[in-house]
């Protein structure tokens, strides 16, 4: 599920609600304490730019601005790393014309990995998988939310996720590049201080 936080007027909220009707989206009012995937922020003056600084963001978070047709303001917003700018006077048409870009951004940033058996299922965000370990014909997925075990081999997992963010460093380990802190000659240190071995055959690819 993709959470969308809106720091905008009610009339704009309704337009956005109409656009994101699928069950995969969860719309809510902006809460400075929570982490959301997409933010819609209304900016009218330069002072409103502070709203962008209040956002809790992951590297893949998308920030969309709704504002007036003002080149100077748009330019300031771009320097703060926003992803799209919508004119508030023509929001509905703007959303419609940019819907392909929006869906592409969502698809590339919020990829998930699915697992299902008779009684349980999980849908993990790929970006938050730290590393995956293969052990006794099982995969142990070390995720930001905890650990998950599945009967599968590592090559099949790599094929399934099909992501350039992951690299194989050992015959039993695949690592998310964004979580690497330091690379040494024979080992690799992750941001959470986990030390993983580097296989001889995989040294060159790293």
């Amino acid at each position: 599920m993709i959470s969308i936080a809106c720091n905008i007027q009610e009339c704009y909220f309704e337009i956005i609600k109409k656009h994101f009707t699928s069950k995969d989206y969860y719309l809510e009012k902006f809460n400075p304490a929570s982490y959301d995937d997409i933010y819609f922020i209304e900016i009218n003056t330069l002072n409103d730019l502070d709203k962008i600084h209040q956002i809790n963001r992951y590297p893949e978070t998308l920030i969309y601005i709704i504002g007036p047709n003002d080149f100077h303001l748009l330019n300031e917003c771009l320097t703060l790393g926003i992803h799209l700018y919508f004119e508030k006077d023509d929001l509905e048409n703007n959303l419609h014309s940019k819907s392909k870009t929006i869906h592409q951004q969502i698809f590339t940033r919020f990829k998930t990995y699915h697992y299902k058996n008779k009684q349980m299922s999980f849908e993990l965000r790929l970006a938050q998988i730290m590393y995956v370990e293969s052990m006794n014909h099982k995969l142990v997925i070390h995720h930001d939310n905890g650990d998950f075990i599945e009967r599968k081999n590592l090559s099949l997992f790599i094929k399934e996720i099909n992501s350039s963010d992951f690299i194989q460093i050992h015959k039993s380990f695949v690592v998310n590049k964004n979580y690497i802190q330091e690379i040494k000659a024979k080992e690799l240190i992750l941001k959470n201080s986990t030390i993983l071995p580097i296989g001889r055959n995989f040294k060159e690819s790293i």
Partner: protein, 193 residues
């Protein structure tokens, strides 16, 4: 402090296994027909590596402690067999899902209707859908035992840890009532139609 819902049925599976092993040994010793003793050995092998683990780990097991919500359901015989011997020898249960409690936004309580072919009707499973702060989600069946107290205690513990339960069908309210949960879910399902 931790609360466990469901457990491996070691006692029951060992009792049934010994009864069948007794018959297998009888076949081996007395061998009423030629080659029957081979059947006896086969039977013992099947009981130890397939029947015993499958029966011991036939249902799902979950646990909550101060930091994690853990859940497991072994889907096939190989997994059950591995888990059985690992748990027996190491006394350490391996859970398939281990979710950090502080990363949970809410748990949605819902149900699913499962067609029961031979009876021409539906069975109902209660589902917990766990939504996480990063957008990941997990679903599992929480009801594994007729001992509802175990489930109620685990849910209360989760609530005390700040986990929000969203129960739009009021399924959790039914847990401490005498009425069978399936009748209640059937009423809801009928009303929805």
């Amino acid at each position: 402090m931790k609360y466990k819902v469901g457990k491996p049925h070691y006692k029951l599976s060992f009792i049934y296994s010994f009864i069948i092993i007794f018959w297998a040994v009888f076949l081996i010793i007395y061998s009423p027909f030629s080659g029957m003793n081979i059947c006896g050995f086969m039977l013992i092998f099947l009981i130890i590596f397939i029947f015993l683990p499958s029966m011991a780990f036939c249902n799902n097991i979950w646990e909550v402690d101060e930091y994690y919500l853990k859940y497991t359901f072994y889907n096939n015989v190989i997994d059950k067999s591995q888990a059985f011997f690992k748990t027996i020898f190491t006394r350490n249960m391996e859970y398939q899902m281990k979710i950090k409690l502080d990363k949970i936004i809410s748990i949605h309580v819902t149900y699913e209707a499962v067609p029961m072919l031979f009876y021409g009707t539906n069975g109902y499973n209660v589902i917990f859908k766990v939504l996480m702060k990063d957008g990941s989600s997990f679903s599992f069946q929480p009801i594994v035992t007729r001992k509802r107290k175990e489930i109620i205690d685990a849910i209360e513990f989760l609530k005390s840890k700040g986990v929000i339960f969203k129960d739009k069908y009021h399924i959790l309210d039914q847990l401490d009532k005498q009425e069978a949960l399936s009748y209640y879910l059937e009423k809801i399902h009928g009303g929805k139609k």
